[in-house]
């Protein structure tokens, strides 16, 4: 009876162990893949800083609002940078 009720009302309101497993696994696998690619967090930070230096030569950027993340889609990882530009610097 409880099983039938559960089926009628859909998944339980609190997070199911299935959801929890999926979330933990996604995070763990993401970190595993980064480790395999030999890209620890501090290297990613170095990349971000160097990238900002280069971009700042051409644009005046809002350094506090920049976002650099690694995103994954299927088995591919993409480096995504979101950098708000205030204005273009004069060519030199």
């Amino acid at each position: 009876m409880i099983g039938l009720l559960g089926w009628l009302t859909g998944p339980p309101k609190d997070v199911s162990s299935r959801e929890e497993a999926k979330k933990r696994l996604q995070l763990t696998i993401f970190h595993d893949r980064m480790e395999v690619m030999e890209l620890p967090a501090e290297r990613l930070n170095d990349l971000r800083n160097e990238l900002m230096e280069v971009i700042a030569k051409y644009f005046e950027i809002d350094i506090n609002r920049t976002e650099c993340t690694l995103e994954q889609d299927d088995r591919e990882v993409a480096f995504v940078a979101n950098i708000p530009v205030k204005r273009v610097r004069a060519g030199g």
Binding site: S17, R18, K22, R33
Partner: protein, 275 residues
């Protein structure tokens, strides 16, 4: 007509690689008596494919004997009496994985390619030499996993290693021992969840089935005489058909009344076509 070589691998042990290899190999040989199928047990030191197939008493020579030149490959092949077009190349039991090199495996498999139409390699657990030896000779991989966290994590690692191989070996997903009742109550990850995490194409889903234990006890793979329409034996046969290019919809493991699950599975059906 060089035979294609499929690698059954998982990373984690105990997810059912050997059971899947044995059952799918038997189903392939049973569905087409003109197709010569060879199964290679690469688990040197811990061989088990022979017992799953009920061929353990007929082994004379093994894979290491062939590699070392102590016998011809034909002498080491054990023919299955039930299916004359099925043969097993057994692993050595008293040696270890370092007895073979990847180059030797490539040469051995190349010799077998001329004798058979399809070769299945049962890879040992782990990602060490036994895995590298097996992968060296494989054209494509079937990654076996259960819907459990550690199995899926290890499967991801193996898929990554196969992708990183200079030949970029393609992986197909085989979800084994799925417990439909637990997926329904959200106590276990679904096939969709596993596909989403691993990002590879699905080859098949094998339901948890107690009959597997009985069939292993007898040395008769379930796919040989299974009569149940919904069960592991038929699911293995479906995988075998997909491997030969036949489109077979996923088995309705969840039961007819669970419409929401059927919808999800219909979505998956479009994904399933091997080659």
């Amino acid at each position: 007509m060089a035979a294609k070589t499929l690698l059954f691998t998982s990373g984690k042990g105990g997810v059912g690689k050997t059971t899947c290899t044995a059952n799918i190999g038997v189903a392939l040989a049973a569905q087409d008596s003109n197709m010569n199928v060879c199964m290679i047990d690469m688990d040197i030191g811990l061989r088990n494919l022979d017992i799953q197939l009920g061929l353990e008493n007929r082994i004379v020579y093994n894979l290491v004997d062939v590699i070392e030149g102590s016998c011809k490959v034909r002498q080491a092949l054990v023919k299955d009496k039930r299916l004359p077009n099925l043969a097993l190349l057994p692993a050595a039991q008293t040696r270890d994985k370092t007895s073979v090199s990847p180059e030797q495996m490539v040469n051995l498999v190349n010799e077998l390619r001329e004798m058979f139409d399809l070769i299945l390699i049962d890879c040992p657990a782990g990602i060490e030499q036994g895995f590298h030896n097996s992968a060296a000779a494989a054209d494509e991989a079937i990654v076996v996993t259960t819907a459990e966290m550690s199995a899926v994590r290890d499967a991801d690692r193996v898929i990554g290693l196969l992708e990183a191989n200079p030949r970029k070996i393609n992986s197909w997903l085989l979800v084994n021992r799925l417990r439909a009742s637990m997926v329904k109550t959200h106590d276990m990850m679904s096939v969709d969840d596993v596909i989403e995490i691993l990002g590879i194409k699905l080859l098949g889903v094998i339901p948890e089935d107690e009959k597997i234990i009985v069939s292993t006890n007898k040395g008769e793979p379930l796919s040989l005489n299974a009569t149940k329409v919904i069960g592991a034996g038929q699911a293995f046969r479906n995988v075998a058909m997909r491997l030969t290019g036949v489109e077979v919809p996923l088995m309705d493991i969840y039961g007819e009344s669970q419409n929401i699950f059927i919808k999800q599975f219909n979505k998956l059906k479009s994904l399933i076509k091997f080659k």
